[in-house]
């Protein structure tokens, strides 16, 4: 317990997290299996030893966490804020197979809609699944997967989540089961003036040859600052075809750190789509490991920032086996003083011959004060691989804008059309129609707001297109 003492003396702001840990651990001692208690303890040891990273840490160079570290976020007590079904009306996904709702990290069965679930699909609260497992009616396999992929030693947020998580979704899609409609996981921040931290933990086990789409959606009901520190582990079995959607649309005072760790078996095909529209400080970690021959992944994203939003995308694509294929496409739109980061790291291990990895990051800056830092990072230990990356930074194209206006389309509408066209590139890569329509609607609404805000703030800006372009093959 030496770690805890060190923590309290050196970084007093971790105190609330310590209180939360004490509570969660005490409850865990009563009802959690030993392996999980151990996992929590390891997580806490790791987090309390390291604390929040500073910008000296290479992985956090462009993102300052001072505001997060100095806020005393406390644990949410189950049921302390009441949420009515009517409040969630606006957050349903039309056509979803089911919706699981979590309020401040706690499962809310009364707000959830489990619909008519098909055979061969298990969807429930992770805490409940583990609790139930203790009494012998176990949904098998949680122990083999939970905490086995997400890397606590590298990432303190994963360590913190592992120590403090109280609930999240557990999905198991059985062998060969094909779902027609997406599963919607809604994580709601609801508080009245309280600064609350939640650590949702999601586990998705997609067995061999299964097929599904999952939407993980973060929203806030009020305007107070909240901290969501989410970790999702997705294990895709052989030939599984899975689409994962992350939607971040919390209020602009929120902190959101999310980590999606994907483990892919032979020929598994996984798409990760991140649509980041809200949140004040957002860190989006996507970390697939292509750990079976012939696996393929698509890392697709759009981030839109205005005001002082800060959106940091950290991609780590690990090729561990031969003949795998990865594609990264991230588009960013930044207005006002918004800042974006795209860190695209590709690691090709020694055995991963015939790797084909590609990365593209395109950015539109709508104001002189907006900023993007884009950083490719290739670490290649195999010799027969194809890796390319490229990034562009520019403004709205003046010739395109004039063409639209010369046909009678008002400037604001023309800008909106061009922004939408740029943003919509990510939609074309989404295979699940229901999820795509949902994403499309959110993007349209967000851009409409953005254009009217930008229009109100600045008269027509005619800036020289500044382009930075590089393409490298190695």
């Amino acid at each position: 317990m030496g770690n805890e003492r060190t923590m309290v003396t050196t970084t007093p702001k971790l105190g609330k997290y310590f209180e939360a840990y004490e509570t969660v651990r005490a409850e865990g001692l009563e009802r959690e299996p030993v392996w999980l208690q151990q996992l929590r303890e390891d997580g806490w040891a790791r987090f309390s030893a390291k604390g929040f990273p500073s910008t000296h840490d290479e992985d956090w160079r462009f993102t300052n966490l001072a505001a997060l570290a100095k806020t005393s976020f406390r644990r949410a007590i189950k049921g302390e804020f009441l949420v009515s079904p009517a409040q969630l009306e606006a957050y349903r996904v039309a056509g979803a197979a089911c919706q699981l709702v979590f309020v401040n990290g706690h499962f809310a069965p009364e707000l959830s809609d489990l619909g008519n679930l098909p055979e061969g699909l298990l969807v429930c609260s992770l805490a409940k699944a583990i609790d139930c497992g203790r009494e012998g009616c176990a949904p098998e396999g949680i122990e083999q997967h939970l905490g086995r992929y997400a890397d606590m030693s590298r990432d303190v947020f994963t360590a913190l989540n592992t120590a403090l998580w109280e609930d999240g979704a557990y999905l198991r899609i059985h062998r060969g089961v094909v779902l027609d409609q997406p599963i919607h996981l809604l994580y709601v921040s609801a508080g009245t003036g309280a600064e609350i931290a939640t650590h949702p933990r999601t586990l998705i086990i997609a067995e061999d040859a299964s097929q599904a789409a999952i939407i993980e959606d973060y929203v806030s009901l009020g305007s107070e600052a909240a901290f969501s520190n989410a970790v999702t582990e997705l294990a895709a079995g052989q030939d599984a075809v899975i689409s994962h959607f992350l939607i971040e649309r919390e209020n602009l005072a929120s902190f959101n750190v999310s980590t999606l760790r994907i483990e892919q078996s032979r020929s598994a095909n996984v798409d990760s789509h991140s649509i980041l529209l809200g949140g004040g400080l957002v860190r989006n970690n996507v970390h697939p490991v292509l750990n079976g021959e012939g696996a393929e992944c698509l890392i697709n994203g759009l981030f839109v920032g205005e005001g002082r939003q800060h959106i940091d995308n950290y991609m780590l694509v690990e090729h561990a086996r031969p003949h795998c294929n990865s594609r990264q496409f991230y588009n960013g739109i930044l207005a006002d003083h918004a800042r974006g980061v795209f860190h695209g790291r590709i690691v090709v291990q020694k055995d991963a011959q015939k790797t084909d990895a590609k990365q593209t990051n395109r950015n539109l800056l709508l104001s002189d004060n907006a900023r993007i830092d884009t950083k490719p990072q290739l670490e290649i230990y195999a010799d027969d691989v194809k890796c390319t990356h490229g990034a562009t930074i520019g403004q709205i194209d003046e010739a395109q804008l004039f063409y639209l206006r010369a046909r009678g389309i008002a400037e604001a509408d023309a800008r909106n059309l061009l922004l939408y066209a740029f943003a919509a590139e990510c939609l074309d890569r989404m295979k699940d129609a229901t999820a795509r329509e949902f994403a499309e609607k959110l993007i349209r609404e967000r851009l409409r707001e953005l254009v009217s805000a930008v229009q109100a703030a600045t008269p027509a800006a005619t800036q020289e297109e500044e382009k930075q372009n590089w393409e490298e093959v190695g």
Partner: protein, 256 residues
């Protein structure tokens, strides 16, 4: 009242004066052609008329339908009835060709206080016009001009012209890069649009186009000024003698 009245127009780009006192009057129903060597300012004149803001007007005035054109934004000019068929149509990835044109038509209709067209009203007309211009149906849902051949882009401009029904259509070298069949189709499209209340300003390098679109007046623009004006026979003369000789003769004919 003339439809378009350009008086002593001076315009520059990046501080370089390109138009150096252009005078031109166009009445409804007329077809005017502007010819002239490369770099003489033809596209600049077209861009100023379409109100592109990279082109600064440093002197003179333009009345369109009695209104001050220089006070208008590009979208306002378009809604008032100015249409520019671009010399180099712009590609716009991600915006569908049909969707774009319907948005443009609705913007113009809204400006005129007319009801918006829904897809059901729009599509049959759009398809019919595409057919007249012998355009492939598949271009309908492609992004604006993206991956179009040179000829397809020019036809797409004429398609927009025929749907938007402007008062003044400016064609900037619409003929360049077209083979003779495409030229004929494009010219037919334009001729079908001729009417007593619509005027055309046809910018071209070659007299060839004027075999198909018969102008009422021909003007020669040289170094930012209209050096000569005449009837259709002037185009033939220019074709025979070339711009340089024709100009030299004009210079000689001028009193010292």
């Amino acid at each position: 009242m003339a439809l378009l009245e350009i008086q002593d127009l001076h315009a520059s780009v990046d501080g370089h004066e390109i138009l150096k006192g252009v005078n031109l009057t166009i009445n409804a129903g007329e077809v005017h052609s502007i010819m002239g060597p490369n770099g003489s300012g033809k596209s600049t004149l077209a861009a100023v008329l379409a109100r592109r803001d990279a082109y600064q007007v440093t002197g003179g005035r333009i009345l369109f339908n009695g209104k001050d054109l220089l006070e208008m934004d590009p979208e306002e000019a378009a809604c008032e009835g100015v249409f520019l068929a671009f010399q180099y149509p712009v590609e716009i990835p991600g915006i569908g060709n049909a969707y774009f044109l319907r948005s443009a038509m609705n913007a113009v209709r809204k400006y005129r206080g007319e009801d918006e067209l829904d897809a059901m009203d729009f599509l049959p007309l759009y398809k019919e016009r595409m057919k007249l211009l012998e355009m492939d149906d598949k271009l309908m849902n492609r992004s604006v001009n993206e991956g179009f051949s040179g000829g397809e882009k020019k036809r797409n401009e004429i398609l927009q012209l025929s749907m938007l029904e402007p008062k003044l259509a400016i064609l900037d070298e619409t003929d360049s890069g077209l083979d003779i069949d495409a030229l004929r189709i494009v010219a037919q499209g334009v001729n079908a649009m001729r009417s007593p209340d619509r005027a055309f300003l046809v910018i071209t390098h070659y007299q060839r186009l004027l075999d198909y679109i018969k102008p009422d007046f021909v003007h020669v623009l040289v170094d930012g000024k209209i050096e000569r004006s005449g009837g259709p026979e002037l185009a033939l003369e220019l074709e025979e003698k070339g711009y340089v000789r024709a100009e030299a003769e004009v210079q000689q004919a001028l009193p010292a």
